[in-house]
Assembly symmetry: C2
Homo-oligomer: 303 residues x 2
């Protein structure tokens, strides 16, 4: 979908594996939005510019439009590689990688992701959200939890990402709920009590995850476990196992959960059950805030 | 594929979710074999007879051929439901469920699976393999480990299955290796040392599974982790986590691993690393032995 015509002074782009989202920005405000399924996975190197143009063309005028993008667009298989920066480091630094475009109306910059040597880990996109949160909450010292396809837990201190760890929770959930044998058991609805019980099961006995997963199917067959309970239990088991492994991150710390609303609420509830109070920040807003910070850094560097 | 013409006195069928395998049997010996992709998932109720006929027709003669089948063919969505029997109970009892066929040359019997009330669990097919093992190893008292799409651990005592537990290890492996983000990192080959390290990682710290999985991808990106090491590590992490959860089954017990050769060898190596010596039995052979036991029970009941 192309954006509607709008006047803007810069463009923010969240460009992931399966999706591109662009916002026409007037300072820190959104003037228009465009979404397309032209994620990195579906594009050859020479197709990125056209995919971007299709989304943002209605916003272009006479001059060059500054476009700041983050996410998998900067991967080796993306439009142009923006090499990872190594933690500990600030989540953003400098103006990012400039990309050459055929269309003279575009001035595109891609922000690099972060890497960690040991244990080996990488992120692309989440560093921009963390930067956005720091931009709006200067002096924040604590832990950012970014649930998603690949959940991230990041320790943030003195304006830097100190360390982080990735969990495949979201990708596992999607597979188990929609493609595995459990797809016959999970379904619409949500059973809050089932979520809490499952959560505490794997939080206290994370090794039980493997057997508890198949138990969802078995209880569906033998006891008619309702789909809403099966769904909530699957989510609870996976989030509980993630929290068990991420315990060194959140135990006794200030946590902010940065993500989409529904999944973030589950993590916040889970953390609160453990006596940890967690703030919430919307991931789209944090992406735009982080890209805004990058656009300011760019202007500062140019002056 | 239809079987080659062969003289036989009964037919053994292993009929699972995605596949049908039939053997023309002369007593306990295999005279011919047929394989087809007509598993339960791809068949409507009224298509099972034709699928069976296609496989076994070359073996039919003038009289009625006794066919003994086990697996998902007896599920509610299968050919005819063979209701689960509740443990503790012998893995086989009685002649199974007779199925009506249009073709008078067929006399089909489906063996029921087992269920467990708490924790809820089910099996279909593995009980036949356990029965086959008991048939050939009378008086066996110990634990059967049946690795596969859904691995089973069963406690066997005094000729009965006392309790069992299912793990989704095989299904998770297939997804992670072939469909998840890890598919970019895993590949051909096998690194035995990487397998052992990963195994002991999740055996001692099963909660680390979630983070260690993504680590395979990250090390692939940052350190060029070879595909053979990535594959072995993925397998080791998942089997280690299963063994951690199944510890009450195998610790200090006599174990027999019943399965396909390659995957069984991995479980046996893992158990031996823990000081548990495990016997091996081929799952196809045990299926045939179990079905042979059922055919004898049928004859005894008829006499």
């Amino acid at each position: 979908m192309s954006g509607e015509a709008a006047y803007c002074d810069w463009v923010a782009v969240d460009w992931g594996t399966t999706r591109l989202r662009a916002w026409a920005m007037r300072g820190g405000s959104v003037a228009a939005e465009a979404v397309s399924d032209k994620g990195m996975n579906s594009l050859e190197k020479n197709e990125f510019e056209a995919a971007l143009l299709q989304a943002v063309e209605p916003w272009l005028g006479q001059g060059r439009m500054r476009v700041f993008a983050s996410g998998m667009v900067g991967a080796r298989q993306g439009w142009a590689e923006a090499p990872y920066r190594a933690v500990p480091c600030p989540p953003l630094a400098g103006p990012g990688i400039a990309v050459e475009t055929a269309d003279p109306r575009l001035h595109v910059t891609i922000l690099p992701g972060l890497k960690q040597a040991a244990p080996a880990d990488v992120m692309r996109g989440e560093e921009t959200q963390i930067a956005g949160y720091l931009y709006q909450n200067q002096g924040f010292d604590g832990v950012a939890c970014l649930p998603g396809t690949h959940s991230k837990w990041a320790e943030v201190s003195a304006g830097e990402v100190v360390s982080f760890r990735t969990f495949m929770t979201g990708e596992l959930y999607d597979f188990l709920a929609h493609a595995s044998v459990l797809r016959h058991s999970v379904g619409e609805g949500w059973d809050a009590a089932a979520f809490e019980i499952a959560l505490s099961d794997t939080l206290s006995r994370p090794e039980s995850l493997g057997a508890k997963l198949f138990g969802i199917r078995a209880e569906g067959l033998l006891d008619g476990l309702p789909p809403a309970a099966a769904t909530a239990r699957l989510s609870g088991l996976l989030i509980g196992a993630e929290l068990a492994a991420a315990r060194p991150y959140w135990l006794g710390r200030d946590v902010v959960v940065i993500g989409a609303e529904t999944v973030s609420a589950r993590y916040i509830e889970a953390l609160e059950n453990q006596g940890v109070s967690a703030a919430y920040a919307n991931s789209d807003e944090m992406t735009r805030a982080g890209l805004m910070r990058a656009s300011e850094a760019f202007r500062e560097a140019a002056e």
